[in-house]
């Protein structure tokens, strides 16, 4: 998440080149100490991060159930994934959820950030309040939301059948409650990013444009929004990536139900892999999921970066 805005603006390779020209003794070998500083971390990382990934990819070509004997089955796990309604439904849910939650998170947090950036009373206090969800465990506060949806709301809005009958038990609408919880928490971080973006915009630009008679909406569209483009990019990419992997809010609110209507890909991998005897099958699913997330993130970077302006 952090410092990614730098990556958006300049590639690490570019800054590395800059660095190289400033450092002396380019051609000589680095002192051995530097290697000692790096090697243990590389080995540990390879052992606990890369190795599981490789093992996972390996088992995705087998029929391993998580215990007992196994055989190679070639690509059949992958082929079966595309014919499995439960898997397709999980992807459908994850994307629907992630897209709606990303749009709402960015719309709300940008609006709140604009408000916090105005001259308001007790600005630091409000900023502190809006950041509170970031430090709460989403699972735990999610249980509070669960009580609210299943016990409070049916009594408060007893006139509306959807809420009276507990929205969490509605196969069609339970996902909206999960969106509410996820957006509620994600906004905390997004607001802070947008706020720091807004503070990089020179005030003169607004003065000049208001002399030209630009309306507030016009100023937002032509000045504010293009100039916080990098922050918008980073927020959209990070929120979509995070929301696609949604897990905690679902466990807190519906646990995938009713039926499997709110089962996300992560939840499906967790359930199928640990208790469903589908270790190999779900690792194949995870490999596909990894490819999907990477493609979506890179695609977003390309599309969104083209829209950014600088000053």
């Amino acid at each position: 998440m952090a410092t990614l805005t730098e990556a958006v603006r300049s590639t690490p390779a570019g800054s590395a080149r800059k660095r190289a020209t400033r450092t002396r003794n380019d051609s000589s070998r680095a002192p051995a100490t530097y290697y000692w500083m790096v090697w243990p971390a590389v080995i540990a990382f390879a052992a606990f991060h890369t190795l599981p990934v490789v093992v996972g990819i390996f088992f995705s070509f087998t029929n391993y159930a998580g215990y007992g004997a196994w055989n190679f089955v070639g690509l059949s796990n992958y082929l079966n994934l595309f014919r499995d309604d439960r898997v397709l439904q999980a992807y459908g849910f994850s994307f629907l959820f992630a897209i709606v939650a990303t749009i709402l998170t960015n719309a709300f947090s940008l609006a709140i950030a604009l408000g916090l950036n105005a001259k308001i009373k007790a600005r630091n206090f409000w900023r502190g309040v809006y950041f509170v969800p970031y430090i709460l465990a989403i699972l735990v506060i999610g249980y509070v939301f669960q009580f609210f949806f299943s016990n409070s709301l049916p009594k408060i809005l007893s006139g509306i059948p959807l809420f009276r009958d507990n929205i969490l038990t509605s196969e069609t609408w339970a996902w909206t409650a999960i969106v509410a919880l996820a957006v509620w928490q994600a906004c905390a971080f997004a607001i802070i990013i947008y706020l720091s973006g807004l503070q990089t915009i020179p005030a003169e630009l607004y003065e000049a444009s208001s002399l030209d008679g630009a309306s507030p909406w016009r100023q937002f569209r032509s000045i504010t929004f293009p100039l916080i483009g990098a922050f918008f990019t980073i927020n959209v990419v990070l929120s979509l990536k995070g929301f696609l992997q949604v897990f905690d809010p679902i466990v807190a609110l519906t646990n995938g139900g009713p039926g499997t209507s709110t089962e996300s890909v992560t939840l499906l991998i967790f359930r199928g892999g640990f208790s469903g005897g589908e270790f190999a099958y779900q690792t194949a699913n995870a490999v596909i999921f990894f490819i999907v997330i990477t493609v979506v993130s890179l695609f977003q970077f390309r599309v969104l970066q083209r829209r950014e302006a600088d000053f």
């Binding site: 400033r22 450092t23 971390a41 093992v55 105005a118 001259k119 699972l139 509070v144 016990n151 990894f290």
Partner: protein, 305 residues
Amino acid sequence: MTTMTNTASQLEQDVDAVTADAGRKRRGESDDDTRRTNWWATALIAVCSLTVLIPLYLAVVVALKTPDQLTQGTGFELPNPIRWENFADAWVRTSFPQALLNTAVITVGSVVFTLLTSSIVAYALARNIHRPFFKGVFFYLLAALFIPFPIIMLPLVKQTSILGLDNQAGMIILYTIYGLSLNIFIYTAYIRSIPIELEEAARVDGASTWRIFWSVIFPLLMPMNATVGIITCVWAWNDFIMPLVVLTEPSARTLSLAQYVFQGQFNTDYTVAFASYLMAMAPLLIVYIFSQRWVISGVTRGSIK
């Protein structure tokens, strides 16, 4: 990164975009924010903040009620009489002291090890990024940011149980290692801004690379240490999915995991459950209330460069 106060002289027009027809005055030339207080924006921000505060309010009042009171109302009524025993019940039923201790040990351990290891690795990488080996390592670690946890999850559980790391020590190791990618990203950008002449002066005086790191660089990294420390602390304290899959012994349960496990047992015993939720959230919340500005600026510093 800019601070709130001195660059606050900002786009009143944007606020207009939010609050429709707010004030029309222009601000002066000075650095200070000379705009008139925007009461529309203040009111709007205050009203919207209720969305954050209401769930917390609900958590507190429900935790203080008797079960009878709760079944009669919607949950939002003020508790009368207050039932403090909810907390005592939750304390015993969720083995709160044990879960708190586990979470604290994992969090503190992760933060300490993360600060010590990530900063060293980042330093070596930042100072040698023009060398192919170090550049390769940098991108190798960075590439991991793209890899979603679900792909690691299933094999990881096998691995930790084989190695006997399905406990608090294992969690500390995992948080330290998995945080590496992001932390190195945060640290290297900052280390590159530290003039290399500082180190060369120390080197001329005969200091070793280790010594230079500990006595020159590490103290200079304090702002980034704060950032990385805060991010790691919040992550390790609140994380749910990793303890859920890795920890096997009930005695190793973290606070989040304890809430999940006891959710089934609480059943409809909401008042005790809410007391338990409050106790799980309280430690971090209290720390945050007292260090709010520091936490926000720390997180911002890590995100914006």
